[in-house]
Structure formats: C-alpha cells, structure tokens
Symmetry: C2
Subunit: 216 residues, 2 copies
C-alpha cells in the first residue's frame, strides 16, 4: 500500500473481508463495484476508491476477482498468520471472548487467561486454565504472545496495560470502559460496549438510522 491509509478505510477493511468470504463460500468468483457496493451499503465509487488504496485491483468493466481480492485484503489485515492471544480478566466478557468460535476460526488462538480472583484461578474456561496475575510476567517471558485482551474492571486497566507493555506486548484489545494511555509502538483498539449502547440510545431517540453503523 502506498502511504498511510485513512482510519475510515481501515475500519471498512474487515467488512470487505467478511463480505468477500461470504461471496467465496457462495461460489461467486467475480463481482462488480456496483454489486459489492449494494451488498455493503456503500456507493460503487466508494468501493473503487477504497480498493485503489490497497493497490488497484479490478479492471474497468470486469469487476473484481473474489478469491484474489479476499486473499489480498486478508494479507493486509495480517490474517495469513496465526495470532496468539492472552486474556486478562476471566469475568463474563473475558470468558465470552475466550470461547468465541469465530476467533479461533480466524486464526486468533487464546493461549491463557489471567485473573486476580482466588475462586477463578485454576478454573477451566473453554479448556484454558485461568492463571493468577502474579504469573503474568513469567508467562510472557517464556511464551510467544501477540495480542492481550484487557477485560478487567476500569479501575485496574491502566496498571494492567502498563505491565503488559513492560513485558513486550505490542497489541491490546481493550474492553475496559476507559481510555488508556499507551507507549508509542503499542496498538490499542477499544471495544467500549457502554459507549456503543449509548449510541444506539441516541439513534433511537433522534430517529437517526441514516448511516450504517461502524464496527467495534
């Protein structure tokens, strides 16, 4: 890709990947920007602009080859390699993430859960034992981990993030309802569930259902 891709395009990439996977499963090998746009609720020109950002696939009048475009977008998203994931916080959210079948299918493998609660330590969540937080640094010293999921209460999220970064973690998926400070070189993506629900409340109140909502 030439240059920095805008945040808006990056946010649409997984949607492209998801729709192209569905099309491939349905046996569709070729698709026009019109058809893909209709499916994704985007204009054909938006589709062409987005796809041009990644190197200009497709030919005028022929559209896009589904398997190639899917593979290319998968590469851009880094989905051609497996990711090893740990989850901090074995509460409802952490446990749901650990057991979400789509992640394992997508190459995201949970290798450990951690918690501070004595009742949770040693319990199995979807075949993965919950470890104590005091084991975190040792575990990270001896095990390859790509991504940490933060599913702690807000009150200890920043301190936990600092420990993760100090141990070399460079990607954090944060479910704690707080905006975290993180060092340069660490990628943080937030899933702020309460914020999302409040946006729904806003849209319901103001009858705003014009635009398709962005993803988490």
């Amino acid at each position: 890709m030439a240059g920095r891709v805008s945040e808006a395009v990056i946010r649409r990439l997984p949607g492209y990947y998801r729709h192209l996977c569905e099309l491939e499963t349905a046996g569709v090998t070729q698709i026009s920007s019109q058809e893909l746009g209709k499916r994704m609720q985007l204009t054909p020109s938006q589709i062409r602009q987005d796809i041009n950002c990644f190197g200009g696939f497709g030919r005028q009048g022929y559209g896009y080859r589904v398997p190639e475009l899917k593979a290319h977008i998968g590469d851009i998203l880094g989905l051609n390699k497996a990711h090893r994931v740990i989850i901090i916080g074995a509460g409802n959210i952490g446990s749901a993430v650990a057991q979400y079948p789509d992640f394992a299918r997508g190459g995201f493998k949970t290798v450990a859960l951690f918690d501070v609660s004595a009742e949770k330590i040693g319990v199995q969540v979807g075949n993965i034992p919950v470890r104590g937080m005091d084991e975190l640094e040792d575990f990270l010293r001896t095990t390859d981990v790509d991504i940490a999921v933060l599913a702690t209460p807000a009150s200890c999220a920043q301190e936990t993030l600092n420990r993760l970064c100090d141990s070399g973690i460079r990607a954090v998926w944060n479910f704690a309802p707080v905006d975290l400070r993180h060092p340069e070189g660490v990628a943080v993506v937030n899933v702020h569930l309460s914020d999302s629900l409040q946006i729904l409340s806003y849209k319901m109140l103001h009858h705003d259902n014009g635009e398709p909502e962005e993803n988490a």
Copy 2:
C-alpha cells in the same frame, strides 16, 4: 440541537459523557477545552466544535461546567430514561451482556433472554430466566421493550431481526457477525467483534497507532 449531527460527533458523545462522569466523581466542577482535550486525546478546537454542535455551552476563558455539560450530553444520549432490553441468544456473548454491571448502572435493564436451545430454556442467567424463541412475539405484545440485543449466530440473525421489527422493536444492538437489512425507522448499531480484532491485527502489522481508536 440544530440540524443533523455528524456520525463522527455522535460516536464521540459517549466518550464525553464517560469523561464528564469521571470528572464529576473526582469532584471537578469546571474544565477548559484544553484540559478536556488532553484527557480525551482531542484538540481543544475539536472539543469546542463538538460541544457547539449541542448548543454552545461554556464561556470564553471559563471553560465548561462539568455537571451541566454532563447532564446535557446525557439528555442528548437519552440516558435520563430507563431502557428495557431483551437479549436474543443466551450463548457466551448474550450471557455476558445480560450480566454486564455497567449496563444496569446506566439504566439499561435486561427484562428477558430468549434462545432456541432446549438445554438453555428455563435456565437462569443472572436472575433472568431464558425463554424459548416461540414465546418472543407474545412477550413483545404484552411487555414494554425498548432495545433488542441480537446475539444469535450469523445464519439466523436476519430472520430474527425481521421478527423483532415485525413485533415493533425500533432499536437493535447487533453482535452477530453480519450486516443486516432493516426497515426505515429502526436503529441498528453493530458490535462486530471479529472486525474489531482484525483492525487490531492490521494496526499491529502496520505499526499504525496514530489515532485513538473509535468505540464499538
């Protein structure tokens, strides 16, 4: 509010609300656009522009009164009333949502869960019994419900959404990994967890940690 507020501003509203709640709890009564911007990782001029969209609070040189601005943004988000919520799908995600303490604190009250699985029907999830999907329409005819959470597999999400809309539901919080078609007048907000995780994978791969990530 005058005119239609942009999607980007709407997406930032819950962040304002969250930070103003934290400030109020910390006993802060007044805050400048500089200080609020620093906290929220936005520029002071962005803060002033956003807040002007909601009617122009604050005075030059004095900043914003925290309790007033918080109450005003809460009103805009519709948080001054309680919302009654049902959850379709009592799997890991649906159960986690049902038991998420922040929602109940924020005025979102889960009144029922529904599932198709015989093993789940009748089970209690956080004190709420799981009902069979065949009870859905009767339940909605006799009970006030504001929001439906869709936590079904992708394969039956569209059909479930159609049933909800036919029964008068006007707000859907969708966790199924699929883009849904919905009638005019129905607000749908998606939490596409796999998409969010893929964005993290992208950012890790491309060392893109420039912008604070949007909420779910």
